[in-house]
């Protein structure tokens, strides 16, 4: 199966739409809230400093941020969801509730790092971290304490949550050229290739290769 080359978009097109008359008020308000810094769940004890640092290192491999998306606070939002108990309306019956699951999963990941490479996850080379994450994703693992949690299921939950936080953010939506939030006038033409002037186009020649 051939893979199409990956395109890129010039930065800022979407963010410029916010607050313009191309966007309705409720949409503008929602996006401005999203752009505001994540208030930290200061009183929470769900993840401690060490676990948060570990989560940051994992997040950097799963959803790598560029200069353009650096302001998206993946770890802060992730933690806030845990603190506020924001779920998605369901969970695998086999897994415990989110807080327990992620604490256990992160601890087991660190223990796996020690078993495989003799050091903590945060101290590993990127390639070693990726190898470890791939192993967990495939459901295989080292003999460490997963406390009955299926490593692959935990990995899926962790990844899905980080991805949900990331692509909900206007800066990540800018990165993929999404302009659907320009909702004030609708889309007169919706067929293949149809484009309004305010819908971003890929930067010519800037293809990343697959």
């Amino acid at each position: 199966m051939s893979h199409p080359p990956s395109v890129t978009y010039a930065s800022g097109a979407i963010v410029r739409l916010i607050g313009s008359d191309l966007m309705t008020e409720p949409t503008t308000a929602a996006l401005l809230r999203r752009l505001a810094p994540v208030s930290d769940g200061a009183h929470s004890t769900i993840l401690d400093e060490r676990q948060l640092a570990l989560l940051a290192a994992v997040a950097a491999r799963l959803v790598p941020q560029t200069e353009r998306t650096a302001a998206i606070d993946l770890v802060g939002s992730f933690h806030r969801r845990l603190v506020e108990g924001t779920g998605v309306g369901w969970r695998y019956a086999e897994l415990p509730a989110a807080a327990v699951m992620h604490r256990t999963g992160l601890a087991a990941l660190n223990a796996s790092a020690a078993a495989a490479f003799g050091s903590e996850f945060v101290e590993l080379q990127a390639a070693q971290q990726d190898e470890l994450l791939r192993t967990v994703q495939s459901g295989k693992t080292w003999p460490v304490a997963w406390r009955g949690i299926d490593p692959a299921m935990w990995f899926e939950e962790l990844l899905a949550t980080l991805v949900d936080i990331f692509y909900a953010h206007p800066l990540a939506q800018d990165d993929i050229g999404f302009a659907g939030m320009a909702d004030a006038h609708g889309w007169p033409d919706v067929g293949l290739g149809a484009r309004e002037v305010y819908e971003p186009e890929p930067v010519p020649g800037e293809q990343l290769g697959a």
């Binding site: 395109v7 949900d164 919706v190 067929g191």
Partner: protein
């Protein structure tokens, strides 16, 4: 004007839930002059002010109380499945409204598997006609499949990129297609029951709520009509108990509003809380279950999606998501399974797509970012196929309680042989179609959609929960009307049929009441 009834006033009926089942029924009863109160767990939104074109903001439309998913194909609830608020799941349905075909109702007679309905297509046909006019369905003048039927009242919505790609590829392969019926307005529409609704602006965000009123969700159609005819609507009221009086009838409906417990006295209860909350309430209250069928036969449509990336720009957030349909696969000649499926082109919102890429494809790191940067060139097709009832697929109460102190529902779902064969058939065909359309990087997302079954209708009180009119076999003044009463899944999206059943259920109730037998 909307009425206000006192709690100790004996009202004629309480309707629990205001989705596809509850709202049309509420309206019909109110039109007949009954004193009716609707209790709805969620809020009454004002779409124009409250709805953003933003997926995360619109999570408020989904039922987020945690459900536990088990089995080999655990069902994703929340976003993928059910809604809360006045209008229920129609607030976020895609408004795709094909009719089932007559043979869908009698799978057992045709194939010797599954279950037959105690009613048939002909019982519902007049209601389908009525609904398509009332809702303002956009679709073709002449629909190529199924029995003859009146033309759709509005011309089809414009085909978006995914629909054009599917159309193009199917033409090459000799597969007939048609613009799909969608309950969204291709032109402004006036109905005396609810006034004027605007045309669809092609925002493509139907699954996150329609801010323009173009989509025929219940909150802009049957609810305003019910209120105009005197129904009382109580949003933010969560029903918890259905206590039986000495007569064996439900004496009143207990619910929680603002943390306070209230009881509404009533003569009749219509339970329309959807195929998860309806059986959950019945099991919690231990009623209507002498057949032991409450929670059994949970079904979910086969919903395999095939995605591909194209050279051309698709910008898949635009246009009604399900623009094109084919029912050529309703009874495929080379099928090695019972029943059939329909084919549908699909647009997609970015967060939904990213989530599927993460869960379904497991992409992360640079591979994820690269794939997502091609979001504007992505398009999909999927199926909506039958699912047979099976004893292993069921809803139970778990030992875990939620914030309200009620047991969380646990749903076990494992796709059986028939679903797997149908899915494999569809996988081959859709890959062929997407290949012909010029797709690259084609991938499949395994999905089972809609919550169906769990309180099925039937003539035999030993094997069903309600009769053909929705009346509980065990409780004289309880009627159920939502997706839970379906004996089989049908090879069509459920909402139109649920609404048709709601109108029929109300008419049957009113006819009996007129004879003094309700």
């Amino acid at each position: 004007m909307t009425a206000m009834h006192a709690l100790d006033e004996m009202v004629d009926a309480v309707v629990i839930g205001t989705g596809a089942g509850g709202a049309p029924l509420l309206s019909r009863l109110a039109e007949a002059g009954l004193k009716v109160v609707a209790l709805e767990a969620g809020r009454h939104w004002q779409p124009q002010q409250d709805f953003a074109t933003d997926e995360e903001e619109q999570n408020k439309l989904f039922w987020m109380d945690e459900r536990l998913s088990a089995g080999a194909n655990p069902i994703e609830f929340g976003k993928n499945n059910s809604g809360i608020g006045v209008g229920g799941s129609t607030l976020h349905y895609t408004a795709y409204v094909p009719r089932p075909q007559p043979d869908d109702f009698k799978l057992h007679r045709e194939f010797g598997v599954g279950a037959d309905w105690p009613i048939g297509y002909d019982d519902l046909a007049p209601y389908y006609d009525e609904l398509e006019l009332f809702l303002g369905v956009s679709g073709p003048q002449s629909y190529p499949w199924g029995p003859s039927r009146p033309p759709y009242p509005l011309s089809p919505l414009p085909l978006n990129a995914a629909a054009q790609l599917m159309d193009r590829a199917c033409a090459k392969l000799g597969i007939a297609t048609s613009p799909a019926p969608n309950a969204a307005l291709s032109a402004p529409y006036f109905h005396p029951a609810y006034g004027r609704r605007q045309a669809c602006t092609n925002r493509g965000f139907c699954q996150a709520g329609c801010s323009t009123g173009a989509k025929a969700s219940m909150d802009v159609t049957y609810i305003p009509r019910a209120l105009a005819r005197g129904a009382e609507l109580r949003p933010s009221c969560f029903v918890t108990e259905l206590p039986l009086g000495r007569s064996g009838k439900i004496s009143g409906v207990v619910y929680v509003r603002d943390g306070q417990r209230e009881v509404q006295r009533c003569r009749h209860v219509f339970l329309c809380a959807g195929a998860i909350e309806t059986p959950r309430l019945l099991l919690i209250n231990e009623i209507a279950n002498s057949s032991k069928q409450v929670g059994k036969n949970f079904m979910a449509h086969t919903g395999l999606q095939i995605w591909g990336t194209f050279d051309e720009m698709t910008r898949p957030y635009k246009g009604i998501p399900g623009g094109l349909i084919s029912e050529e696969t309703h009874r495929p000649p080379d099928a090695d399974f019972a029943g059939g499926y329909l084919l549908q082109s699909i647009g997609v919102m970015p967060l939904t797509y990213a989530g599927q890429v993460a869960r379904g494809r497991g992409l992360w790191g640079d591979a994820l970012l690269r794939h997502m940067r091609n979001y504007n060139q992505v398009a999909g097709i999927n199926i909506l196929g039958d699912c047979l009832p099976h004893e292993d697929n069921e809803l139970l109460l778990s030992d875990e309680c939620d914030g309200r102190g009620l047991p969380k529902p646990l749903v076990r779902f494992t796709a059986q042989d028939n679903e797997l064969r149908m899915t494999a058939h569809a996988d081959r065909l859709m890959r062929q179609i997407w290949g012909a359309a010029g797709a690259e990087d084609v991938w499949a997302y395994q999905r089972f959609a809609h919550t169906i079954g769990t309180a099925r209708m039937g003539d035999d009180p030993g094997t069903s929960v309600v009769d053909a009119d929705g009346r509980a076999h065990d409780v004289a003044n309880l009627t159920i009307c939502d997706n839970s009463v379906f004996p089989s899944a049908l090879a069509a999206n459920p909402a139109l049929t649920i609404m048709a059943l709601a109108l029929r259920t109300a008419d049957r109730f009113l006819a009996r009441a007129a004879q003094g037998d309700a």
